[in-house]
């Protein structure tokens, strides 16, 4: 059987000199098709000008082909597109993406593949061997690139244009009319880090930043939901109703947040028993309850271990 990939020398991703353009006029963020207006298509153009020496060295006596590899579990694709030599030393590819055809997001990269007569020879001689793969990039079709547990949408915006008063901020949470987390695409390198970093120190950095954002977002959302729960409890009490009905007075997203966190905050209780405990805690002291929640959220998003990894990497150089 062929040798697993760790034993094979492949080209550095930067050897491809990858260029990507997305023609999608209606969007603020070129790599994300999702919009409230339902933007329907985008033209993606990809070109590479590979370092000839690097790839010639790897392919030996075999020929070499450059392809665009498009993969997505949600869109059920793993498709290899041929690239064409658009000028000497440069290979190009373009494809129109239609919203009606896709779901979730698409992950793209350029791969250099060996071409030879024998498909079952050793990796040094066989056809179809991956000689190198560029950095991958995601095209969001209609969902946040970072999973958010279906609680909120994530959108990239240039804050200096959209939220001038918060132009130096990294993120901004809106809860009305729907839950949206805006990330500032004007922050140098942030978009690239949060959407493409998949390996090494950059991946650890990405996870730490998300943990930090998540902690703040969760606390804000839980705080808003429990404030409204507290109000609803007072209304229900004054009407002589069953206090549990207060949960039905909450907005859908608020109930989802509390249903997600209730069993974590009131750990070890059966079924919906957390609801009664939450009602008691909110009525007793809302501020004390929020301070407990802060500690639980911090533990749940593993913020200390995420940052620990970054610090250790930094120390190891």
């Amino acid at each position: 059987m062929r040798t697993p990939h760790l034993a094979i020398k492949t080209a550095d991703p930067e050897s491809f000199h990858l260029e990507v353009t997305v023609d999608n006029e209606a969007q603020q963020t070129p790599f994300n098709l999702y919009s409230d207006a339902g933007q329907l298509e985008a033209l993606v153009e990809i070109s590479v000008t590979p370092d000839t020496e690097v790839f010639n060295d790897l392919c030996g006596t075999r020929n070499i082909e450059y392809h665009v590899w498009e993969e997505s579990s949600k869109s059920r694709r793993s498709t290899l597109h041929d690239m064409v030599a658009s000028k000497p030393g440069t290979w190009s590819f373009k494809r129109k993406i239609e919203l009606n055809e896709e779901y979730g997001n698409l992950c793209w990269s350029v791969v250099a593949v060996s071409k030879a007569a024998d498909p079952i020879a050793t990796v040094e001689k066989a056809s179809g061997i991956i000689l190198g793969q560029s950095e991958d990039f995601l095209i969001g079709i209609d969902s946040p690139i970072e999973k958010s547990g279906n609680f909120l949408k994530i959108k990239w915006r240039k804050f200096e244009e959209h939220f001038p008063s918060a132009k130096h901020n990294m993120f901004r949470l809106e809860t009305d009319p729907s839950l949206v987390l805006y990330l500032n695409s004007s922050v140098d390198g942030l978009y690239s880090l949060l959407t493409t970093a998949k390996r090494g120190m950059r991946r650890d950095m990405k996870k730490s930043i998300f943990a930090m954002i998540k902690m703040d977002v969760w606390q804000s959302l839980i705080s808003k939901a429990t404030i409204d729960l507290s109000r609803a409890l007072e209304v229900r009490r004054s009407m002589g109703d069953d206090l549990d009905l207060a949960f039905e007075d909450l907005a859908d997203w608020q109930f989802k947040i509390l249903r997600h966190w209730g069993p974590r905050i009131h750990f070890g209780l059966e079924g919906d028993a957390w609801r009664q405990h939450m009602i008691d805690s909110v009525r007793e002291s809302h501020s004390a309850y929020l301070s407990i929640i802060g500690a639980i959220v911090q533990r749940d998003v593993h913020i200390s271990s995420e940052f620990e990894r970054v610090i250790m990497n930094q120390a190891e150089g």
Partner: protein, 274 residues
Amino acid sequence: MATTMATQTQVHVFEVVPSLDVIAKVLLMDEGAVLDFLKDSKRAPKSKNHQIDLSKFNSAWKKLNTLENELKPISDKDLSVELHEALIALPRRLMLDPGFWVWLSLFPLREYVLARWAGGNEATEDAQFARFHCTASVGSIGQTNASARLYWASEIVFGESGSYKEVSSVIGIQDLHKTLFSNKISLDAKLLLATARTLSTDYREKVAREVIKMLGVIRPTTMFSSLSDADLQILLSDLKKRAEVLFPGKAKSVGGTSNMPTNTDKSKKNNSAI
């Protein structure tokens, strides 16, 4: 001659996919009660601007249903084609939406799903509720949801070859279908079809699983789609020979469908969890 009256059904989609608990509750209600149960909630299925005609599919599964009111796995290949033909005009995006498959399984195809996965009885176990449930993961749409698994088997074969001739290679053997469609291999239509074609001939479970394991091992180094059809076939045959050396023996039967596991081969609980 029997005729089938065309009946159009308005397509709906759950924008928020119901949990297994909600599915368990909903399965005890008729459609009107369900809509009432979900009304004024974001959990209610939303109407889409498409209609489908499931009358041929419904006639087909009822015809294949046995006297014991229990559909056998052998029905999958025919029903896969019937369902694909019924849905072929819908946008691909809708076919990737878990909310569509949950709606289709819970409402228009509820009787079929119960006949195929609960022996025609009420669903009582999580594994049976899971046949109505769906997520956007590879395995959920590919092989867990009772309706999506039928559609996608034919979609891959039809999309790759332009005909339904080889649908039985992909879904005719339940264990092979499950192994292939739980795997990322199923995202690559060319590789999936070639693998199914190779392994369904003289099918042996251990050999098939070993080949799929080997494909997983060499996947990071090999771009299968870059190989010609002939080269891909040479590679798969080579892997199969290696697996046969590891697991010597003979297939119980050659071709046909008698080596397929059936509902009656296993306990009900095991079957529903497949």
